[in-house]
């Protein structure tokens, strides 16, 4: 018989307000095996933990039940405390009487009754607990960073700096991400390329960093410390070891009318291209969808002009198998499609552009060489209207996003300011619902746009943009403070489109078994206390893949994710989860059902000799679980008809004891 101690936490008033904690501890005192029962204000506090430790020693407890918050919150805390007092940490069970009891029930009697039942279930389980010892598994000392934008670059540099190998996988032909497309950055107005491209070069030159550009993650297997990843290196049809990035092929290619994605389709590129001058790696890529040679076998001009002999039309996708100890997700974002917001006439007029397109139109390396010109006729625009919150902060109706995209207020202030600075003859209107500028020097920046640059900030929304036959855009809007409807003849309208996670993230999350929220942003392990870790061990989050952020925030999070990954890689061994499956060889039939459902290949079979009761020997095929590989899902335990396969910590008898305790009441 176990000697069980019960500890009921008040959690201040969080539990005590709807659960009579004294009644719970008093009632549970009478349960079989319970030799000590108490309640305390904050069990997780140091004095609370001391109560636990003292009781374990004083009452020679062999099992502990804590009635408190969710085990997802403090199970580890209490296990550690128990271990400190000499009790096996896996002899601790938590009854969740906060999230799943006190917080959801208003009636104290009902709450108390339920808390008692949950306590009894935990006690019933502890009776069947056995001390478990965690095994250890080695750590592969290499990290994978998925996404080569500023987030991925910063994470990779920090990890490499700490002395660990790190691979960057980027689906585009170059690293750099969205930031390469930006002109200036708020609130300091330094040029994006000037601060980003040196970092890209650092990545290329750092011997600890390998860049897999134009590549995608194909498959992820394994677990924290031991991920096995397949990377698909897409065929560029260019031998990257030979290509010097001279760009001659990109000048000679006869296919000239391919929409240039780097400039968001505002101009064209060739079928063989280098996205931009500072690309890393600076090598050409042949776009197989448009290359004449690859489509019809007729051309071959680029191969002829390439003095390095780098063109290889026969190149195939390559699959690279790599092992990693940690994975950092940095998949970034994209602006939403605006086809569902055509009251702003985005698809009806070339002069209605997104803010990211506007960045290209003002960028010295952009299609207009940095001179702001109307895309429709190349004339200088005089009246510009910026519309905020296009698709952000919308009711969840499939049209837009319910969240604030966070970066638009600041980049719009930047755009407005830059336009007014460079072209003082312009009138610039910004229609806003709220101006949100929390950040260092952010509000000052916005105020400068208003006060020094004379940008017209108008509280209200644009209702309709009507492209007139003469090329003017009739903007119909509301000035809420003046209580009037405005009709502005504009030359350009710039829409601050909401941002959304990159669409590749959804599939990636499935491969990583990392959870996502309803907006497809990766979920963090704890919204406040573990913001850069995924709940899935060994997966870390960097940048906008976790939620909208600007560059400073992204870089901070990238470094934080790197620090977490470094902390993991610095360990030689990881403590395994001891709640793993094991097979009772005497009962095992060797039928292979368990092996077939194991997602980790943790089960193998061997022929084993048994001494039977009648002293004869028999050779039988039996299953054996590798505890370092098993992750403890329990799929095998249900596939096993004989019950030979069971799961430590969640055994058949333990779960049934819980079922019994819950069901047999009254």
């Amino acid at each position: 018989m176990q000697r069980i101690g019960v500890f009921v936490c008040w959690c201040g008033s969080n539990i005590a307000a709807t659960v009579d904690v004294a009644a719970v501890s008093d009632t549970l005192k009478n349960e079989p095996g319970v030799v000590f029962s108490t309640n305390y204000q904050y069990m997780c506090s140091e004095s609370g933990q001391n109560i636990l430790k003292d009781a374990i020693r004083d009452y020679q407890l062999t099992g502990v039940v804590i009635c408190s918050c969710s085990p997802r919150m403090h199970e580890a805390t209490f296990r550690k405390a128990a271990a400190a007092a000499g009790l096996n940490p896996y002899m601790v069970e938590i009854a969740n009487i906060r999230e799943q009891c006190s917080w959801i029930h208003k009636d104290k009697a009902a709450g108390t009754e339920k808390a008692i039942i949950l306590g009894r279930a935990a006690i019933a389980k502890v009776h069947l607990n056995a001390p478990l010892t965690a095994g250890e598994s080695p750590v592969t000392k290499r990290a994978l960073v998925i996404g080569g934008g500023i987030a991925g670059i910063q994470t990779a540099l920090d990890i490499a700096e700490a002395g660990f190998e790190v691979d960057i996988v980027e689906k585009q032909p170059t690293i750099g991400g969205k930031m390469t497309q930006l002109d200036k950055t708020f609130p300091t107005l330094d040029c994006a390329a000037c601060i980003l491209t040196p970092k890209m070069v650092d990545c290329a030159q750092n011997e600890n960093i390998s860049i897999y550009a134009y590549s995608e993650v194909e498959e992820v297997k394994g677990f924290v410390g031991n991920f096995h990843v397949k990377i698909r290196k897409k065929a560029r049809y260019v031998d990257t070891t030979k290509c010097t990035g001279c760009g001659l092929c990109t000048e000679k290619c006869p296919v000239k009318k391919v929409s240039n994605e780097f400039n968001l389709g505002l101009d064209n590129r060739r079928a063989v291209y280098i996205p931009f001058a500072q690309a890393v790696p600076k090598v050409a890529t042949i776009d197989a969808d448009h290359c004449n040679m690859l489509k019809s076998g007729k051309c071959g001009l680029c191969a002829k002009v390439c003095t390095a002999g780098a063109i290889d039309y026969k190149q195939k996708d390559e699959i690279i198998d790599r092992e990693y100890g940690a994975i950092v997700v940095a998949t970034g974002y994209q602006p939403i499609a605006l086809d569902k917001y055509d009251e702003f006439a985005y698809s009806q007029s070339k002069d209605v552009v997104t803010s990211l397109e506007f960045e290209r139109l003002t960028n010295a390396a952009g299609p207009t060489g940095g001179t702001l010109l109307r895309p429709s006729d190349g004339t200088h625009p005089h009246t510009l209207v910026f519309v905020q919150c296009v698709g952000s902060r919308c009711e969840d109706d499939g049209r837009g996003k319910s969240y604030c995209s966070k970066i638009c207020c600041m980049y719009t202030a930047k755009h407005a300011m830059l336009v007014r600075e460079k072209y003082p003859d312009t009138e610039v209107y910004v229609f806003y619902i709220d101006v949100r500028t929390p950040g260092k020097n952010f509000d000052e920046f916005y105020r400068r746009a208003v006060e020094e640059y004379g940008v017209h900030y108008i509280k209200g929304m644009v209702g309709k943009v009507a492209p007139r036959a003469d090329g003017k855009l009739m903007v119909q809007a509301c000035d809420l403070l003046a209580n009037e409807q405005l009709h502005i003849e504009a030359d350009m309208v710039i829409l601050a489109a909401a941002i959304e996670p990159d669409p590749s993230a959804r599939h990636l999350a499935t491969m990583l078994t990392a959870s996502m929220d309803t907006n497809d942003f990766f979920t963090e392990a704890h919204p406040k206390l573990r913001p850069v870790e995924s709940p899935t061990a060994g997966i870390f989050l960097s940048g906008v893949c976790q939620g909208p952020k600007d560059i400073p925030e992204t870089v901070s999070q990238a470094s934080a994710a790197a620090a977490k990954a470094i902390g993991l890689l610095a360990k030689n061994k990881l403590t395994c989860n001891p709640c793993v499956a094991h097979s009772d060889e005497w009962m095992c039939n060797g039928c292979s059902a368990c092996e077939k459902v194991c997602p980790y290949g943790a089960i193998t079979y061997m022929d084993k000799e048994f001494r039977m009761p009648d002293r004869t020997t028999a050779i039988r095929r039996v299953a054996s679980v590798n505890p370092a590989v098993c992750q403890g899902c329990g799929a095998c335990t249900v596939a096993c008809p004989s019950g030979a396969m069971d799961l430590d910590g969640f055994s058949n008898s333990q779960i049934m004891a819980e079922v019994d305790a819950i069901c047999k009441m009254k």
């Binding site: 086809d339 569902k340 055509d342 006439a345 009806q348 009507a466 007139r468 036959a469 003469d470």
Partner: protein, 267 residues
């Protein structure tokens, strides 16, 4: 292909051309429109009030009748279409409204929005197909610059009407192309002409109609087509005569292109 057909009051009176040309064209396209025998006025405007039940029952009866007959219901007048479609949507989605409406009517056969309601244009697009329609055109309107006027009721609320993108529709433009003419895009084609206010506030109706008319004229259209008798009236009566483009029903254009209108006149 057989459809039940709900013409509506105006098509029996002031907008007979809209109806007549639609019937002739449907016949030429191999489509049978069976007019519901006992339809009543839809009410002209959909009441958004949740407690307006009785005023929607005429629509529910028509919808129920169409269900009994087993054919999808085709409408033509934009207003009727809007009212019937919104009523049908409410019967399907708003359980409380459906309960109360059903209680008013013969409760032995409850109605829950089973009938599919489509506009004549949707029938042309989805059943006939604009490519097939183009093949049947005998008198192509080549060279004509035609401005499609959608107004409000065909498109909005988009979630209910689901005919086309409410902000950038193309069904009428595709229709115009199928007839061999050139569609003219102009920004006010889906803005209100002020028609409902024509009795209450003539000046308002005139102002709104003029915006639409001016916008179409500036886009250098030869004429405007519409599916709505009230829009047609409003654009013709409440705009200054100078610079007014002819406003005709889209079915008139259709009958013309199919060559059926001439035949009718000869016969």
């Amino acid at each position: 292909m057989i459809y039940s057909y709900y013409p509506g009051c105006t098509l029996k009176n002031k907008a007979q051309e809209l109806d007549r040309c639609a019937r002739l064209s449907a016949q030429a396209l191999g489509i049978t429109l069976e007019e519901l025998p006992e339809w009543q006025c839809c009410g002209g405007a959909y009441s958004m009030a949740t407690d307006e039940i009785a005023s929607k029952l005429a629509c529910v009866r028509a919808l129920k009748d169409a269900r009994t007959r087993g054919h999808d219901l085709v409408t033509l007048c934009s207003a009727c279409h809007n009212v019937i479609k919104q009523t049908n949507h409410a019967m399907a989605e708003d359980a409380d409204f459906a309960l109360r409406a059903n209680n008013y009517m013969a409760p032995e056969a409850e109605y829950h929005g089973e009938t599919k309601v489509i506009h004549y244009l949707e029938m042309l697009r989805d059943t006939v197909g604009f490519d097939k329609l183009a093949q049947k055109v005998t008198h192509p309107l080549t060279g004509k610059r035609i401005a499609a006027y959608y107004g409000c009721l065909l498109l909005r609320p988009g979630k209910v009407m689901q005919m086309d993108d409410p902000e950038n529709p193309r069904i009428l433009e595709d229709f115009i192309r199928a007839l061999g003419a050139s569609p003219v895009l102009y920004p006010y084609r889906n803005e209100c002409c002020g028609g409902y206010a024509t009795l209450e506030d003539k000046a308002l109706a005139q102002k709104k109609s003029d915006t639409v008319m001016t916008s179409a004229r500036e886009a250098e259209a030869d004429c405007i087509i519409t599916a709505c008798p009230l829009c047609q009236y409003n654009l013709m009566k409440n705009t200054p005569e100078a610079g007014r483009l002819p406003v005709i029903y889209f079915t008139e254009l259709l009958a013309q292109a199919l060559g059926v209108d001439e035949e009718a006149k000869r016969a």
